[in-house]
């Protein structure tokens, strides 16, 4: 079977059709956001099978609790990525996951995941390289710890041995750089 053409809608259209529980909305939602969400999830949860389960849980939760999303509260993706990240973090902190020993100590993972994931970056995402140059390493590491590893900024401060205020500043500066880069 040939690969299905991916569906794409504008965010407003998407939100509206999700509200109306239209079938096409779920497909569009998946096609538009699954890889971005999976990028975040699979950096927190290394095991691909578990990461896939969490992606599924994420979509189920998005679908069922969509009524609690409102555009006034911000962008759709922000809402969804928080659901995905929380599910992923809950998973790696859950007792059964720890018992399975499928995760490694999160501290040891930071470098490991980056190594692992760098090899699967897609050619069409070559922009990331520029991005790495755009972001100073200390900014990137903080953004990645919080955004991709599920750290709170307090944990990141402890991890990096940097005062909390500095963490916040660097986070802000890093995101400022990203804004510049994307504009």
């Amino acid at each position: 079977m040939s690969k299905k053409r991916k569906i794409s809608l504008s965010e407003d259209e998407l939100v509206l059709s999700l509200r109306n529980h239209e079938k096409v909305a779920i497909e569009a939602l998946y096609d538009m956001y699954s890889s971005s969400l999976f990028g975040v999830i699979s950096r927190i949860v290394v095991d691909t099978a578990i990461a896939e389960d969490i992606l599924q849980e994420t979509f189920v939760k998005i679908w069922h609790s969509f009524s609690s999303y409102s555009t006034e509260k911000g962008r759709l993706f922000t809402w969804m990525v928080n659901i995905a990240r929380n599910l992923a973090i809950d998973k790696i902190r859950s007792k059964d996951f720890k018992n399975q020993n499928k995760n490694q100590e999160i501290e040891n993972n930071v470098a490991f995941i980056d190594e692992q994931r760098n090899t699967v970056y897609k050619p069409e995402l070559m922009g990331v390289k520029d991005l790495v140059q755009t972001l100073k390493p200390d900014q990137k590491s903080i953004i990645d710890l919080v955004y991709f590893k599920g750290y709170t900024h307090v944990e990141a401060a402890e991890e990096l041995g940097i005062p909390l205020g500095t963490i916040k500043t660097r986070l802000r500066m890093g995101i400022q750089e990203l804004r510049k880069h994307f504009n």
């Binding site: 690969k3 299905k4 529980h21 079938k23 779920i26 497909e27 998946y30 699954s34 890889s35 971005s36 969400l37 999976f38 990028g39 975040v40 896939e52 992606l55 599924q56 849980e57 979509f59 189920v60 939760k61 679908w63 069922h64 609790s65 009524s67 609690s68 409102s70 006034e72 509260k73 911000g74 962008r75 993706f77 922000t78 990525v81 928080n82 659901i83 990240r85 929380n86 994931r117 699967v120 897609k122 995402l125 922009g127 990331v128 991005l131 953004i143 919080v146 955004y147 991709f148 709170t152 900024h153 916040k168 500043t169 986070l171 802000r172 995101i175 990203l178 804004r179 880069h181 994307f182």
Partner: protein, 286 residues
């Protein structure tokens, strides 16, 4: 204005977008954003850049997963359509509460499913166990019935075999020309009594015809005793009962080579050494 700038520069908006704020902080940011378009604009910018950053770091999930996830959503899709009364969104509800509530409902579902499965599995096992126990009990009863029937059959088979043996013997007695039939007749006291015996001096055998005897019922304390009179002296030939077991139609008595006459007396059970002559029931000469 300065306050807003300072507020923006605290970095709280970034943490908000990263989901790294307390519920109180979250409420505060949302309030600020709704009041101040500058905050809202800043927030939008941050959200957009993080979204694009995530896109840059996207990892394409496997092709199979699309079908699996959409399948699982669309399976529920029909239900959702039927129950259009999706929980109405109350704007006054706080985001956290609602998300938590929804989240709990959704997370709880598979768990409940699983515990239900085990519940049903346990119930099914229990039912199966009880059914098996009942079945085993019934089978066991049937087996015992069959066993006792088998024993009864074996017994009756044995009985028939015995009977056949006896009848064979009987036939031999009648066919054997060396046997003489002697009719013992009732004494004056017992005129109705009679018994027939077959005597073969050559084979030294005495056989009583039990089936055809006409003797009064003896009680448990007494038995009939057969005597041979040899040269005027009584010789014990064994005891018998009037109501003998039905299988035996003839009874072989003790052996004797010659006899002048045969007689039967009623004696205490087990027989006597000498006949009680006044209790003589039948007598017959050879």
């Amino acid at each position: 204005m300065e306050d807003l700038k300072a507020y923006i520069e605290t970095g709280i908006l970034e943490l908000y977008v990263l989901g790294d704020v307390t519920p109180d902080e979250k409420r505060q940011v949302e309030e600020m954003a709704s009041k101040h378009p500058e905050v809202k604009a800043e927030l939008d910018e941050i959200e957009l850049s993080m979204e694009l950053y995530a896109k840059e770091n996207a990892v394409e999930p496997s092709e199979d997963l699309r079908g699996r996830i959409l399948g699982s959503l669309l399976t529920n899709f029909g239900d959702d359509r039927n129950f259009t009364a999706a929980p109405p969104h109350n704007e006054s509800d706080t985001y956290e509460e609602e998300e938590e509530e929804q989240g709990n409902a959704i997370v709880a579902m598979p768990v409940r499913k699983e515990s239900n499965f085990y519940k049903y599995a346990f119930a099914a096992s229990l039912a199966l166990l009880i059914a098996s126990a009942v079945a085993i009990f019934n089978l066991n009863n049937k087996l015992q019935d069959s066993n006792s029937q088998l024993i009864a059959l074996q017994q009756s088979k044995q009985q028939f075999a015995n009977q056949v043996n006896l009848m064979d013997k009987e036939l031999t007695v009648f066919r054997d020309t060396s046997y003489k039939l002697i009719r013992l007749k009732g004494t004056p006291k017992n005129p109705a009594s009679a018994i027939t015996l077959a005597f073969s001096p050559g084979k030294k055998k005495v056989v009583l015809d039990i089936a055809d005897m006409k003797m009064a019922q003896n009680d448990k304390a007494h038995q009939y005793q057969l005597w041979a009179l040899v040269g005027g002296k009584p010789v014990d030939l064994g005891v018998f009962d009037s109501a003998s077991d039905t299988t035996a139609s003839i009874k072989e008595m003790k052996s004797i080579a010659s006899a002048d006459a045969f007689a039967v007396t009623l004696e205490p059970r087990g027989g006597s050494v000498n006949p009680t002559l006044d209790q003589m029931v039948v007598i017959g000469k050879y």
